[in-house]
Structures are given as structure tokens and as C-alpha cells.
């Protein structure tokens, strides 16, 4: 579908101050920045070449240097400053900052982000419609004493010796790992690290680390893939109460199929680690049945019986 004149005008009005502030970019770079084809960017620039103030002599037109690899504006006339942010632009930045702030552990950076958010709040007062969407601040797990060591290990690509409580196996193990990156999920900080013990990448929740010290021994040999990437996936067919719909939503990446049957859902999971899934299914409220594989069904029943046996 062809672009509307309004969209093209909007882009062109933003192009002039952008090029004025960032001279010397190529047409391809500008096209990437403004998310349009290079041919369209060239047409926009050609058009702007012909725009100006009434009179339209060379003194009143926008003065531009236009080459394939170099674009600069010598005289933007009165379009040197960017337009005000629209309501949806303010909303996008404000909500983005709301999401970021709880993730920032550095006190100074966090304060900087909070001040920035307040400045956008002042703009929000003018743009009422931006109030439509809001963010409840994510409650992220507290800072652990090992966060600094983990960050250093990622930054300097060095090793980390950790004592880790595995929720999967319920064991406290000592490992040498090489952290790669951190992420946040459901309010918890995790680090993906190459584990020398198993020879592949594993995910470690920060609050389950009981000890962490930097180890400067360089990692030798090839790093393996993330668990699950090459491992065979096991399909586990289950019947869950609809109360457990949230579990499917949170773990959508391992859900193969969902079918509603009355008050229940038939859900097929694809997992590389049935041990984890069994523990998670035991933790869910309401009825849970594993249909197949039979071996997993029996293992689930055996563990459920073992729990109930404690209370007989």
C-alpha cells in the first residue's frame, strides 16, 4: 500500500532537524534510521531540496548537500528543532522507562532514570491520552551480595566459582561457571553461564547462589549449546484444571498445544527436562493428570504418593 502524504510529511519534518544534528550520514543509514527504503529516502531528500520559506529563492530554500554517502543540511531555515513529542511517543518512552527502572541495580543510574521519567511525567500532564496505559512497577528480587561479582565476570569474561541450590535436583552443588548474560523473569534475576561441570550453558537464579568468587582461569575449549537447544525434546501430554491457565501463559515457550474441554485444558508440553516439569506440576493448584509418556505419568504419581504418605 502506498504511503499517505501525512506520513511522508511527518518523516520529512523530522528528517531536517535530525540531519542538521547528525550531518554526514549516508542515504542508506538515514533510511535505516527512519525505517524506509533508500529509494524513498532519496525522494524525500530531493523533495526537501525544493522546500523553503515564501519567496523560494536560494536564500529561502532549505540548503542541503545531497550525496549517496554524505547528506548534510547547511541551512534548515526554521525547521532546525525537532517537533514536540506526540502523546503516543511520550507514552512509549514513559512506559519503557517504567519497565527499565526496577531492573537497574546501579544506584546512580537508577536515580538518573527516575529523574528522566519525572521529566516525561511533566509532558504527560499536557498529553492526557498517554495515561491510557500504565505499568505496575515490577517487584524484582532484592540485590544479592554476589550481583557485583556476576556483573564483573560478564564484563571481563572471567570465571565464577559458585555454590548453587538447584531447584531442579534439590541439591547444593559447587561449580565453576563462565557467565554470559543476565535477564529478569517473573521478578527474579537470572544469569546464563557456561557450566564447566556439564559442558553446556545453564540458567542460574541469583538468589539461589550461596557463594560466588571470581576465578581468573581462562576458559579453554569450545563452549557447548544452551540446554535444550540440541537435546531431544520430550512431548508430555497433560490435563490441567483451567485454574492453571496462568502456568501455560508464563511458560508459553514450552507449550506445543492447548485444547479446552469443559473445565479442563489438554496441554502438551515439549521439554528437555521432565524433572523440572514434574516439580512444577506438583506445585500447581487443582487437578493435574499426565496422560503420557507412561513412564513420566508413573513418576509423577509415585512422587505425589510419597508426599501424601508423609501425612498418613
Amino acid at each position: 500500500m502506498s504511503e499517505s502524504a501525512i506520513d511522508r510529511t511527518s518523516r520529512a519534518l523530522d528528517l531536517i532537524p535530525f540531519i542538521t544534528a547528525n550531518p554526514g550520514l549516508s542515504i542508506d543509514e538515514l533510511a535505516r534510521t527512519f525505517d524506509c527504503p533508500p529509494t524513498q529516502m532519496f525522494k524525500d531528500l530531493e523533495m526537501l531540496f525544493m522546500c523553503g520559506l515564501p519567496g523560494y529563492t536560494h536564500l529561502e530554500l532549505i540548503d542541503m548537500e545531497l550525496g549517496q554517502d554524505y547528506v548534510a543540511i547547511n541551512n534548515p531555515q526554521n525547521l532546525d528543532r525537532p517537533r514536540k513529542l506526540s502523546a503516543s511517543e511520550v507514552a512509549a518512552l514513559s512506559l519503557g522507562l517504567d519497565i527499565l527502572i526496577p531492573l537497574i541495580r546501579d544506584t546512580e543510574l537508577r536515580a538518573c532514570a527516575t529523574r528522566l521519567r519525572s521529566r516525561f511525567s511533566e509532558l504527560l500532564v499536557e498529553e492526557k491520552s498517554a495515561d491510557i496505559a500504565t505499568v505496575v512497577p515490577e517487584i524484582v528480587s532484592t540485590v544479592t551480595s554476589f550481583d557485583r561479582a556476576i556483573a564483573q565476570a560478564i564484563r571481563e569474561s572471567c570465571g565464577l566459582e559458585i555454590s548453587y541450590r538447584s531447584a531442579r535436583t534439590d541439591q547444593l552443588r559447587h561449580r565453576l561457571v563462565y557467565p554470559v548474560r543476565s535477564y529478569v523473569e517473573r521478578g527474579y534475576f537470572y544469569t546464563v553461564a557456561f557450566c564447566t561441570e556439564v559442558g553446556e550453558e545453564r540458567h542460574f537464579r541469583h538468589d539461589r547462589i550461596e557463594l560466588a568468587t571470581i576465578n581468573t582461569t581462562p576458559l579453554v575449549g569450545k563452549r557447548g549449546p544452551t540446554k535444550g537447544e540440541e537435546q531431544d525434546q520430550l512431548s508430555i501430554r497433560t490435563i490441567l484444571s483451567k485454574r492453571n491457565r496462568f502456568f501455560i501463559e508464563v511458560h508459553s515457550s514450552i507449550v506445543q498445544s492447548v485444547e479446552a474441554h469443559g473445565s479442563e485444558l489438554q496441554v502438551t508440553f515439549a521439554v528437555g527436562d521432565e524433572e523440572w516439569l514434574i516439580r512444577e506440576l506438583l506445585a500447581l493448584p487443582g487437578s493435574v493428570e499426565i496422560l503420557d509418556p507412561v513412564a513420566v505419568r508413573h513418576e509423577y504419581s509415585r512422587r505425589l504418593d510419597a508426599i501424601l504418605e508423609l501425612y498418613r
Binding site: I6, T9, S10, A12, L13, P17, A21, N22, T33, L48, M50, C51, G52, L53, P54, Y56, N78, R81, P82, R83, K84, L85, S86, E89, A92, L93, L95, G96, L97, I99, L103, L109, C112, L116, S129, D131, A133, V135, E138, R165, S166, D170, S182, Y183, V184, R186, G187, K242, E249, A260, S263, A283, P285, G286, V288, E289, I307, E309, L310, Y311
Partner: protein, 316 residues
Amino acid sequence: MREGAPNKSERLINLTMALLSSRRYLTKSEIFRTVDGYTGSAETMERMFERDKNDLRELGLAIDVGSEDPLFEDEAGYRIDPGEYSLDIGEIDPTELALISLAATRWQSSFFSKSGQSALRKLQSFVGGSNSEPLSLPFYRPEIPSEHFALLYGAIKHRSQAEFTYHGLKDSYRSVAPYALVLNQGFWYLIALDLKKNEIRSFKLLRIDSDLLIDLKPGSFVIPEGLNPSKYFEQKSATGESREVKLLVRIGRSHEIRSISHLSPYNDDWDEALLSITSTTEFFELLSRAMSSAMLLEPEDLRQEFIARMRGKIHV
């Protein structure tokens, strides 16, 4: 003036520049005479100008209408106040620009992605430099706002009612007055007045069926003053009073429970663990994950509740 008629975008830019540059109101006849792109009969130019004015307003430009001497009935004139046109947000340093860049790129391929990117470009124009300090923050991406999000955003903006099938414990058809969209714990929710129940409810967007319909009639309701959608979630997630619980945990096992308990030896196989809990749901999840490595002793009501919960998992 150049030869050939300029295209519409070119005319809109010329009009913007003319209205911005004028210190006084420009009358239509002055605009037609001086701004490049207005050609044809008086009627044609009049229609062109009316459409152009609307288009510029759609772009968010505030066009003032007035006359030089309000005491006399002069022809109405037009101008754009440069102060109203330009972005003015004060100084932005490289760290702030890096934060803005991260904030703007939270929205890949979603409702806000276009707005986020255009905001970032404006701010990069404002500070004079697209290079910012690289920041390393943990990766976190909440649910991407869906097509439903865009429709409901519009419905709230225009105060239009909405109807949809909601997949809760039981599927049900809801008619609502939508008030706000809230991102909570990584998922988007709609806060709306359920018109049948006459109560404000939250609806997870993922559970709204594809049959979502938005009433075309705008202005159907008023959002209550003082409604704080975030507060609504804070209240909902507020935990109850704390309770003390006593458990037995197998020696060498139940590390998750051990890490938050006060422990003392019980016998050769078990330790006694005392801990304080504020959420029964979260505690039962913790206890279930420990499987047969932990046993709840007290209080009795919680013990019975846990036994019933585990018995309820047996599928008949």
C-alpha cells in the same frame, strides 16, 4: 519560484514553514499568494487549504487562528507558535540518551514500536548526536502489546464500549467500559467496568478472545476521577498477615526452604525448620516443589489445607 506543481507533502512542509516563520496571523489570501503549491480556482485553493489544515493538525501541529485586531472583523488568519511546535525538554546527557534508547526499543514489532522509534529520533535531533553511552542492563521483555491492545487503546481514548468472550474459569461474554491498560508482572491487563456486574474488573489481554468488538459510538462513558489502575493491582497483590510455620526438612535436601528458615536438629534424618510466611499460595508452591523432602507440622489448619490440595491433584 520553481516550475511545476509541488506534491502534497511538499506543499504541507512549505505551509508549515510559512506559518512558523510569520510573527503575525497570515490570511488565506496571503497564504494562497505566497506559499508554493496553491494553484487553481479560488474554490479549489480553499478546499486544498482546509484539507491541509486538518492534515497538519493530525500531525499534532497546533495552528492558531486569529486576527491582527480583534476589535475589527478582519479576515481570520493562521500561524504556528514556534514555542508550541518545538520540543523543549532541557539538557539530555549521553547516559540519559542511552536510557531513552533502551526505553524506546522495548517495543519491538508492537503498538508502541513506531512511536518509540520516532520519539528517539526526535531526541537524537534535539541533543545533536545519535551516539550514546552503551548501557548493559539485564534483558527483560514483557508481553508484546497485541492487536487487542491497539483496539482497546483506541476504545479508551474515544470512550467507546467493548464486548468480548473472556476465557476465565468459565468462558463468558463481557460488555465493558474500558478504563485503562496496565502492565503487571510481565502481562497486559484491561481495567474496565463490567457493565453487567457493575464492578471494575481486570481482564488479562491474553484471555480475551478474537471476537473482540469495539462500539463505534464514542463518548459512551466517563472514566471515574481518581481511578488509579496501578493501585488496583497493588491492592490485589497485597499479602495477608504473616504466619509462623513449623516443618521437618530432610538432612541434605530442601535447600530452598532451608535458605529462608531457622533450623535446628530433630533426629538423624530430619531437621526442624521454622519460618514466617505471608502468602499461603507461595508457601504451598515451595512445599510442593520440595516433594517428600519436607513435611508441614504446624499450624494444623494449613497442614490440612495442604493435604487437601495434594489429594485434589489426584485425577479421578
